[in-house]
């Protein structure tokens, strides 16, 4: 009757904790018996799917690691005698901001500090120097946002990887909770943890999104014109180091909006985006 007991594990929750060895024995005994095939086939598919999920989990975790490793290998870690290097470093941007600030170049200084803050938003030194340069130039600081500030405990890229891990964790847990309902509590807890990680990354993305459209005035007094032509009437003046939001671009001009809500067209050469666009060759997009 042991075989019978084994075959009833599918409908008896108490006996579902069968070992893999026992299931293999079931498989051997039941091969070729038509009436029990549906049950066994179903179970085999479950295990095949579980293996597939495990493979997906491993792939999801190893792929980013491989990508990061490859990226690091092709990146520009500081090394001796490097010439044309590429890549951004928060410390180098911070130093470049200091260099520009000491030369009295408010715009490039603020641009470099903003870029450095984008990489390490929780760096007190960068924030202090940015505040100092802005105060010295009479520019207001960016408005305080408790939500954004609460998400500056880690770098955006770190949060992105945490979010990715959260997606994998939540997804796997959702699948496993259906495959192993007896561990429902464990898997649902993991689902919540994964969802929180993913939500943190999404929150960071939401708060960082405005910086994707932000630009800094890198020249001196720059007129914001009423239309995108050189001889258009100036609507107002922008100051060096002022951070604006780029709303549109048209033939060498950018429609910008200040923190006060005023809009005007500014020559693109007078601006530098905090996050350079692809193909942007602005002189202020210095890389390390």
């Amino acid at each position: 009757m042991r075989l019978f007991d084994i075959l009833t594990v599918r409908i008896d929750p108490e006996k579902m904790m069968v070992t893999r060895k026992l299931l293999h024995r079931v498989r051997r005994k039941m091969s070729g018996e038509s009436c029990s095939k549906p049950s066994f086939a179903c179970r085999r598919k479950y295990h095949g799917f579980a293996r597939l999920c495990c493979a997906a989990l491993v792939a999801a975790l190893t792929l980013p690691i491989c990508l990061v490793t490859a990226h690091a290998a092709t990146g520009t870690q500081p090394s001796l005698n490097t010439t044309a290097t590429s890549g951004y470093s928060a410390a180098a941007l911070f130093n470049q901001g200091n260099a520009a600030a000491r030369q009295g170049k408010t715009g490039p200084a603020i641009l470099n500090y903003e870029r450095a803050l984008l990489l390490t938003p929780n760096d007190a030194d960068i924030a202090a120097n940015l505040h100092f340069v802005r105060a010295k130039a009479g520019l207001p600081d960016a408005p305080e946002n408790w939500f954004a500030r609460s998400l500056t405990f880690a770098r955006p890229n770190t949060l992105a990887w945490f979010g990715s891990f959260g997606v994998v964790l939540a997804g796997m847990s959702l699948l496993l909770v259906r495959m192993h309902p007896q561990r429902r509590l464990t898997f649902r807890s993991l689902t919540v943890v994964g969802a929180l990680l993913a939500a943190t990354a999404i929150g960071s993305a939401i708060t960082t999104w405005p910086m994707m459209k932000a630009a800094v005035v890198i020249t001196g007094e720059t007129p914001a014109r009423i239309s995108p032509v050189s001889d258009a009437e100036p609507a107002f003046q922008l100051h060096s180091g002022e951070t604006v939001t780029v709303r549109a671009e048209h033939q060498g001009f950018a429609l910008v909006q200040t923190s006060a809500g005023r809009s005007g067209w500014v020559a693109r050469a007078d601006l530098a985006r905090v996050v350079p666009q692809s193909g942007d060759r602005s002189q202020s997009t210095h890389r390390t």
């Binding site: 549906p38 005698n81 470049q96 030194d125 960082t208």
Partner: protein, 621 residues
Amino acid sequence: MKTNLSRFRPLIAVLAAVVALVGTAAVAAPAVTAQLDRANIALGDSAQLTLSVSGSSADDISPPVVPGLEFAAVGQSSQYESINGVTTSTTSITYAVTPQHAGTFTIPALSRGSQSLVLHVLPGNGGSSATTGNNSGASSLPPPATSGLSAGETHTTQDGAAFARLLLPKHELYVGETVPVEIQVGLRPGLVAQLDGLPTLNGDSFTLNKLSDKPEQTQEMVEGQPYTVLTWHSVLAAVKPGEFPLTVETPLTVQIRTAPRRAQMPEGMLDGSMLNDPFFQSFFGGGTTEKQITVASDPDALTVLALPAAGRPAGFSGAVGKFEVSSELSSARSAAGDPLTLRLKVTGTGDFDRVNSAMLGAADGWKTYQPTAKFAPADSAGYSGEKDFEQAVIPMQPGRQTVPTLAFSFFNPETRRYESKLTTPLSVEVSPTSAGGLATAAAPASNASPTPASEPPRDGLRPDRVETGGTVATLRPLYFQPWFVGTQSTLVLGFAGGLIFLRRRERHTQDADGARQREASGDIGRCLAEMEAASAAGDSLRFFQSGRAALQQKLATRWLVAPASITIAEIDARLNGDSAEIRRIFALADQAAYSGQHLSMADFQQWKETIHDQLKDTEAL
């Protein structure tokens, strides 16, 4: 009184005549005026003496002879005036006056009516270009000749109006290392109208300390032309590793001569030298116009090295340079509970912004407090100096107490190694507790964990980082990069697909019983049909085997087991012996296999009914 005047009247007349003659003679002689650009200079520096003569040629001008002063002509200019058809000219020659020793020199009057000039020469600092009244903000760093600074070949602008030079002590430095540099801008008198700004570095791979508004000013001959050279002393620091070209540039306003309308002038009237004279160019329609240009130095390639990771001491705070340390206690005797001041002096050259020390941390028998720091630069650029750290420490136990050694680590770019300097242990004789001593000690908060000394940033900015850290290829965060978004979307879609698959599988599983029963009914139907065919053909073996198979299928469906496992023993075990008809059918099936028993049509009909009845009865099992 009147009589006396009358008596001397002839004498007065003679004297007046003599004075008149002398005065006439003086007017007829060339009038040379002299002017010094400054009255005080340092030894090693040069002043500028301008001698001007009206109505005569430059041949009539010769420099004075003053012991201890050297005069070198560095420039000449002429000025023409035409008033009511009478043309007068003034010629000026500029001399660089270089003293041979310190002291006060008097340049005598060169013509009647002119005054002598006094030049004070101050002692220099080892031959350096000391500050003067005109360059109070300049540094006392050594000049190029003595400090080892070097510059490339000097190239002037196309019109020769100006040049810029950057003098560097070396071309390979480390991130965070500071080196003294000189920036020189040469201006051609008469061609450069004004300097429109201070020199700046081209690029942001280096930082330069703030330049003075009043640079040193000297004269220099370049390619046979006199230039006024402005020199700034500063400190250069690299911010990131790599190889970078370094130049300095300065905005200038130069005067450009416009060409005269030569077509209107008679051929051969004026020779080339006259045409080139500004006066005649202006007279014939030419003139000068101002233009803003930027003069830049030749690019100088610098290699910036990252600080090595190997051998980095644990207490390394980023200081790069060459330093010495010493420590002292405010008193060699104290009482338990009385505060003492522990001082650590770090002297040397380098970036003092990165010179930091946690001083004395937790030490047995000592209560320590947060240290403070103060930097005293030895030069205006802050390249060398002394940084003093002070920390209040309190001996808690009487007896002979020792302040442990203090360590300061830095990277020495000369030796290319990290070095750690240790102070000598300091001993203090501590007497038993003085009145109120311990109470005083308990008042301030203790500093359990050592933290670096606090010092406000010198220029208001937090200091540069010496560790450039890892890099990223783009500033765009990962969650805005298409490949990352695509990967995450694929993952989400994959998991969603997996969930849908599982749900469908569960539904399918829930329907499996019904499906199985439908399948079993089909099998039973086939068995019964075969049984009908066997009865029609009189094949009892096939008849009973088909009947048994139908019963096996039915029971297997009910009991969720394989049909082959339905044996007589299995049936007895499950039905507890209440299965006589089924047992009989199974037994007849076995007997038919080897006995060859033949049944009549009536028997077939009876057994068919029995089998059908048993099939129906199994519904209730």
